[in-house]
Symmetry: D2
Subunit: 161 residues, 4 copies
C-alpha cells in the first residue's frame, strides 16, 4: 500500500452551537420526510448530500442572485465536485427540521470550497464540505470562476467571515 | 474562525490503475442509469454515495455472508456513519459501467473504515471513504463490533492486504 | 391474456387551469432542483412521486394538524398505497416552481383517495392519484381509518368540494 | 366536479402467479436495499418507479439491443411518459429479491405501453404500467416510433404474447 491509498486525515471536528456560528450567514430550511429515512428510522446518508446540493442551489438562486440553472444550462459552466464529504454529529429523523448555514471556506482561481453547517435546534447535527472546480461543459476542462460568481461569493464571504 | 471550523486536510489522492489495486478484493458491478444522471449528463453526486452504500450491503450479504438486513433489523445493531467522503477523478455518464472494489482500511474496537475504489475500465473514476461506528439501535450508543462481523472483516482484510 | 392482465382504463384527463380548481384547497410549493432532473433536462418521473409524497406529508402535518410521523411511528398505523398513478401534461425543468393542490377524492371506511393537481403557473402540469389503505403496522391488515384522520379529512373535503 | 376530474377507473387487478405469466418474457432482477426502504421497513413507493425505469432501460440495452442512452443522447429522441402507474399487491422489504417481467402491452404509431410484472418468488408483488409517447427532443413534439425500436418491440411482442 503506497501513500496514494491513504484516506484524507480527518481530525474529528467538534459540533458548533448556534451562537458560535459566524454572523450573517444565509441558511436553507429543510424538514426531513419519510422517504428520506431508512428502516432504522434515520436519514439515509446519501440524502444528506442531496439536501446539501439543494441548499447550495437555493443559495445561488435566492441569495447570490446567480441563476444556477442558467449557469449549468445556456452558460455551459460546470460546477461539479472534486470532493464531497460530511461529518455526522447527531442523527436526524423524519419530521426533524434543520437549517443549513452556507459558508465560503475558500475562493481560488478555478475552484471554491463550501462548508455547510446543518443545525438542528441549537446544535450542529452534521457538516458538509464540497470542493468545486469550475469547468467548461464543452471541453470538460477547468476554467476561471466566472466573474459574477466570484464577486457574489467574495461579497458574501466578506459579509460573513 | 477557530480550529474546529477547519475542513479535513485532503491531500488530493491519485487515481489507481487496475493493476495497482490490491489482489483478491471483492467488487460490486453497477451500470449508471438515466435517472442517476443530471442535466449536465453526468452522475448526480449523491447517487455515488447511494451506490457506495449498495456496494457495502452487497459485500456484507454476498461475500462476508453477514445478513446486513438481519443486523439492522432483528439484531438491532446500527452501522451508521460518522463520516462519509468521496474524491472524484473522472466523470461518469449514463450507461457507464463501474466496478467498486471494497477495502477494509481500518478495523477498530467500535468502528471500522471502508475504502471503495470505483474503477471505470482500467482507471479509478472515484473513491469513497466511510467510517462506521457500530451502535445499539436501542440506546444509540457505540458498542463493540459484533464478533461475527469482526471476524469476517479481519479475514477479508488478511486476504486482500 | 385474460382480463386480469388489462391495465386500468385511462380516459386521458384534461389539464385544469388555476380558476377551474375547487376553492380553498391547500397547496404545497416546490422548486425542482438539478438533482431531480435527468440528462434530457426534465424531471425524472419517479421524482414526481417523491414530491407528491412530500406534499401529502406536509398537508398532514401543516394543514390537517395530524403528525404523519407519529402515525407511522408510535401509533403504528400504516398509510401505504394500493395504487399510485400520475398523468403528465407538460414537462417540468430545473428551476420550475409548482404548487401541488391536494384534494380528497374519496373517503371510505379503510381507504381514502387523494388527487394532487400540480400547477405550473396557471396550468396543470401533471396530476397524481394515490389510494391508501390504512393498516396496522403490527398485523399488516387493513384497519378503519383512525377517527382523528377521518375527521380532519372530512372537514377538509367539506371545505373544498 | 366535472368529468375531467375523475381519476382513471381502476378495476383492481389480481396478482399473477409465475405459471400464469406469458412465456419468453425478459426479466430484470433486483434486490431491494436499505436505502430504498422507509421507516416502516418497506420499499418507499417512488423507488418502485425508479426500479421500473431501470428495468425498462436494461431491457432496451440488454435484450432489444437498442442503446437507450444513444436514443436519448445523440439521436435526440424522447421516451418520456404521458402516464405512469402501479398497483401494489404485497409489500417488499429490504433484502427482498424481485424479478420484473417486461411486456409490450400496446404498440401504436407514436406511443407504446409497457406492463411490468414484479414477481417476488412465485407471486406478483406489484405491477407497473407506463405509456410512452416518442418525441423529438428538439421540438418536444410527438414523432413516429423510430423504426429500429418498433421492430425490436414488435419482435419481442410476437415472441411473448
Amino acid at each position: 500500500m503506497n501513500h496514494h491509498d491513504t484516506p484524507p486525515q480527518t481530525a474529528r471536528p467538534v459540533p458548533l452551537s448556534q451562537d458560535s456560528l459566524p454572523k450573517n450567514m444565509w441558511a436553507f430550511k429543510h424538514t426531513f420526510r419519510h422517504g428520506q429515512c431508512d428502516p432504522a428510522g434515520i436519514v439515509y446518508t446519501p440524502k444528506f448530500f442531496d439536501i446539501f446540493n439543494q441548499a447550495i442551489e437555493a443559495w445561488f438562486c435566492d441569495h447570490l442572485h446567480i441563476d444556477y440553472y442558467d449557469v449549468l444550462g445556456p452558460r455551459r459552466v460546470g460546477l461539479g465536485y472534486v470532493s464531497a464529504s460530511a461529518t455526522f454529529f447527531a442523527p436526524c429523523m423524519m419530521g426533524d427540521e434543520i437549517e443549513i448555514y452556507v459558508r465560503v471556506h475558500k475562493l481560488g482561481g478555478k475552484s471554491y470550497e463550501i462548508t455547510l453547517h446543518a443545525m438542528k435546534g441549537d446544535k450542529e447535527a452534521l457538516r458538509g464540505y464540497f470542493t468545486t472546480v469550475t469547468t467548461s461543459l464543452e471541453s470538460h476542462r477547468p476554467i476561471e470562476i466566472p466573474q459574477d460568481i466570484r464577486s457574489a461569493m467574495q461579497n458574501y464571504r466578506d459579509a460573513t467571515d
